[in-house]
């Protein structure tokens, strides 16, 4: 007789359910097994299956219990020191994109840049981190309006940390020699936006034809200069989605086959102007799946240069690998304002970009201090209440909990409070969809799907990734 580590379950289809435990081990089975589990009438072969897959133990301290505890523990990472910081040296921008009303100021506005004093304090604030490595993401506004501030920060970090990496998030509307000089360093990466076709890009972003042409010219030029250190995020509007194959063609044209698909999130006034309804959600989900299937179809025969969707790969890794937890939107415990912080144009510190947006729109002030006076431990502490999804009454019954995360700031931003029942949150709906979809792929018998899964996970050959109990 063995004791089974507690299982949760969820229906995948009419005839199948996924079962998982708190350590994230999962398998597929059916209603008959659920009944046996419910009535505590597991058969001998049920018990053997569970024991063989390390989901039940025969005595305290045996190998299965140890592996279960180890998995649980490796999903619980303690907070670490600052190692990812978003810097906003200026809030000014030279474009006016349709979905970006809040995070910009006009190009000639005064008082929206770091002062000398702020710069000094940012450096001294960063120097207090004990991390050996730092990633700095420059955002704006348009950070390239202040190349001078960026290079001073870069020089400082290269000096202070053993390893630094810089990501410049830019609209690439201007590429001058000083910019080219900065991005020639191997530790500098450029991230821009590419919305699909030039037509779509113009509609959403650049407005005029000349600005659009300029962007595409700059984009190609930077690509030639720095190769795969250039990446692009698409801004996709559920009300205006491209055809998956056109969309992938555009990205492929620039040798970008790893794409991060997510719908644009509106903030503040823009949210009122662009309400997202349930319908939009299902439109988005259809688009998302269609893109993935298009990628899978294009991956046939590929071995190295394959298409992938960044978030789906992350979800797959989280499902299969305990300890894969370095994405701030997808981890639990999600220690807010520890390893990941944002320093705004005025020196205020926020736990994330979204937290800054909420302060800008006047929803709620989630700043956790500033670079002059330092961190406000009390405010930061107040954010940790919902760091663990395992403590949420809904998540604790969800088979995806171990792989899922917790994002109270997103809940606040979208729903006005952090204690909305999980299933009603956009976060949960989005994740349930991707997890279900991932399960569908994992349990699919289609060779094409298995081939792509192997590529995404870096496996030499396709294998069965999910166990099945008949």
């Amino acid at each position: 007789m063995s004791s089974v580590f507690p299982l949760r379950f969820r229906r995948l289809s009419e005839s199948s359910l996924v079962f998982a435990n708190e350590a994230g081990q999962f398998f597929k089975s059916n209603d008959r097994f659920l009944e046996r589990l419910d009535n505590e009438k597991l058969t001998k072969s049920d018990q053997e299956f569970l024991f063989d897959h390390a989901m039940a133990s025969r005595r305290a301290g045996d190998i299965n219990e140890m592996s279960y505890l180890h998995r649980l523990a490796s999903r619980l990472r303690p907070p670490t020191d600052l190692s990812y910081v978003i810097l906003v040296p200026t809030l000014r921008c030279d474009l006016a994109c349709s979905y970006c009303q809040v995070s910009r100021a006009a190009i000639n506005a005064k008082g929206f840049d770091w002062s000398d004093e702020t710069l000094l304090n940012v450096k001294s604030y960063l120097s207090k981190s004990v991390s050996k490595r730092i990633q700095v993401e420059f955002q704006g506004g348009e950070p390239t309006l202040r190349l001078d501030l960026m290079s001073q920060i870069m020089d400082f970090c290269r000096e202070h940390f053993e390893e630094s990496r810089f990501i410049i998030c830019t609209n690439l509307s201007v590429v001058n020699e000083a910019f080219v000089d900065i991005i020639s360093a191997e530790d500098v990466f450029v991230s821009s936006s590419l919305d699909g076709s030039p037509d779509l890009h113009r509609k959403q972003r650049t407005n005029t034809k000349s600005q659009t042409d300029e962007f595409f010219k700059n984009f190609s030029r930077v690509g030639e200069l720095i190769g795969d250190r250039l990446s692009a995020l698409p801004t996709l509007d559920s009300k205006n989605l491209p055809a998956p194959s056109d969309f992938l063609d555009t990205f492929d044209h620039y040798n970008m086959r790893s794409v991060f698909l997510r719908p644009v999130v509106y903030h503040g006034f823009a949210r009122k102007r662009h309400p997202t309804s349930k319908d939009h959600q299902s439109v988005w989900q259809k688009f998302y799946e269609a893109c993935i299937y298009e990628m899978i179809a294009r991956n046939i025969g590929e071995t190295s240069d394959f298409y992938e969707e960044y978030y789906l790969t992350l979800i797959l890794k989280r499902l299969l690998r305990p300890g894969e937890d370095n994405h701030i939107d997808l981890r639990s415990p999600n220690w807010l304002g520890y390893d990941h912080q944002l320093i705004d144009y005025d020196g205020r510190i926020y736990p994330s970009d979204e937290a800054r947006m909420m302060a800008r729109t006047g929803q709620v002030d989630l700043s956790i201090g500033d670079v002059f006076a330092g961190l406000d431990e009390e405010k930061r502490g107040a954010l940790q209440g919902r760091a663990f999804n395992a403590l949420d009454p809904w998540c604790s019954q969800c088979p995806y909990q171990a792989a899922c995360g917790s994002d109270p700031i997103d809940d606040l931003a979208r729903h006005g409070r952090a204690d909305v029942p999980k299933p009603a949150t956009a976060y949960c709906q989005k994740h349930l969809h991707i997890f279900d979809f991932a399960m569908k792929l994992i349990y699919s018998e289609d060779k094409k799907n298995q081939h792509s899964l192997a590529l995404w996970l870096g496996l030499p050959s396709p294998i069965f990734l999910g166990d099945v109990l008949q």
């Binding site: 081990q25 063989d52 897959h53 390390a54 301290g61 045996d62 190998i63 299965n64 219990e65 140890m66 592996s67 180890h70 998995r71 490796s74 071995t303 890794k317 299969l320 690998r321 305990p322 300890g323 894969e324 192997a454 996970l457 870096g458 496996l459 030499p460 050959s461 396709p462 294998i463 990734l465």
Partner: protein, 359 residues
């Protein structure tokens, strides 16, 4: 091949054996270079004069040696310029693996005092290996050595190759101490089927004991390197082994998969034991894929680059100890020789592999 044991002459052959560091300058426990005639080097250790012929193309200065005047011998225990220094704890063993590279003997000479002195003299940050026989037959002495050396030389790292048959519940508290954080424990596991594993290691109940020991090691927070050798006896079960490790042993740090070494018992039983993975790479591919899917670190050892499919090449490690590594003449023309693991000196040929050859 690099010579590890050097003939030497001594001014007094009745001098007792000792550990010394060969050095140009006088220092703590050094045998100091006092003269050179051609390739013959003269060292002075207290009243004793030692003369050693330096092997061609090698530098022995800086090495930590075990000196045995009665046998006219100097053994290079820790070579300063090598990453592969291993001390032999004992030649006794309680298993008898069918392919053992270092077949066990009944006798045992206790060398712990000398090994401890050698470690104390080791270069900064070095990794030192302990192997056997089965080192943990002398568990108490070995643990004590590791603890003692750690207090004086916390910079050193250790690798202990053990069959893990001798860990007990009572060891947990002791092994949780910081001294043991510097140790990586190499533990062989050849199959997930108990009878296959037991018959390979020549001990009934060995698998069962492993399955008891491994969680004890995990509870003590030890770093574990699992080691599996490819053999005709287990190759068809390799994917199953990988599934076992992936589901039951998530606490191991790394899984080392290695091709057979043609030495020791394997030498005379080569054709019953060697399995040519180039002819059928499926089991190996599947095993690597399963382990990789759960995020386990995998390294493939002793496997020539050209003998595996492209997709496995990223998992190859260049591993054969510097003193045992060589290449057959054909490999000179190969473009990937610098990243290829090469061959053991005593069996330097690609003949065993059906597919492979210059790239």
């Amino acid at each position: 091949m690099i010579e590890l044991s050097l003939p030497a002459n001594f001014s007094d052959s009745s001098h007792l054996p000792f550990i010394a560091k060969l050095s140009r300058i006088d220092g703590h426990q050094t045998a100091t270079l006092v003269g050179e005639i051609g390739d013959e080097l003269m060292f002075q250790f207290q009243d004793l004069t030692i003369s050693i012929v330096q092997p061609v193309g090698e530098d022995i200065i800086g090495d930590i040696v075990f000196v045995e005047p009665a046998y006219n011998r100097v053994s290079r225990w820790i070579r300063e310029r090598s990453d592969h220094n291993t001390l032999l704890v004992t030649e006794r063993c309680d298993q008898l693996c069918i392919m053992c590279s270092q077949p066990p003997k009944k006798s045992h000479i206790d060398m712990f005092t000398f090994m401890e002195q050698a470690c104390m003299l080791a270069p900064q940050n070095m990794m030192i290996g302990f192997s056997g026989g089965e080192p943990l037959l002398y568990k108490e002495q070995l643990f004590a050595l590791l603890e003692k050396v750690h207090t004086v030389r916390p910079d050193l790292k250790f690798h202990v190759l053990t069959n893990a048959q001798h860990f007990e519940e009572d060891d947990v508290e002791r092994l949780r101490q910081t001294a043991f954080k510097s140790v990586l424990w190499g533990v062989p596991l050849y199959a997930s089927d108990p009878s296959t594993h037991d018959s390979i290691v020549g001990k009934i109940g060995a698998f069962e004991q492993l399955v008891t020991s491994l969680p004890i090691m995990a509870r003590a927070g030890l770093q574990i390197e699992l080691r599996s050798v490819l053999l005709k006896q287990n190759y068809h079960e390799f994917e199953q082994l990988s599934r076992f490790i992936s589901s039951k042993l998530p606490f191991v740090s790394v899984w080392a998969i290695m091709q057979l070494e043609r030495i020791g018992f394997a030498k005379n039983r080569w054709f019953e034991q060697f399995v040519d993975h180039s002819e059928n790479s499926e089991p190996l591919m599947a095993a690597v894929s399963v382990a990789k899917s759960v995020g386990l670190d995998i390294s493939l050892y002793n496997i020539p680059y050209c003998t595996v499919p492209q997709k496995l090449r990223g998992f190859l490690s260049q591993s054969i100890s510097d003193w045992k590594r060589s290449f057959p003449a054909d490999c000179e023309k190969c473009s990937v020789k610098s990243i290829c693991t090469g061959f053991f000196e005593w069996h330097s040929t690609l003949e065993d592999y059906k597919y492979g050859g210059v790239i």
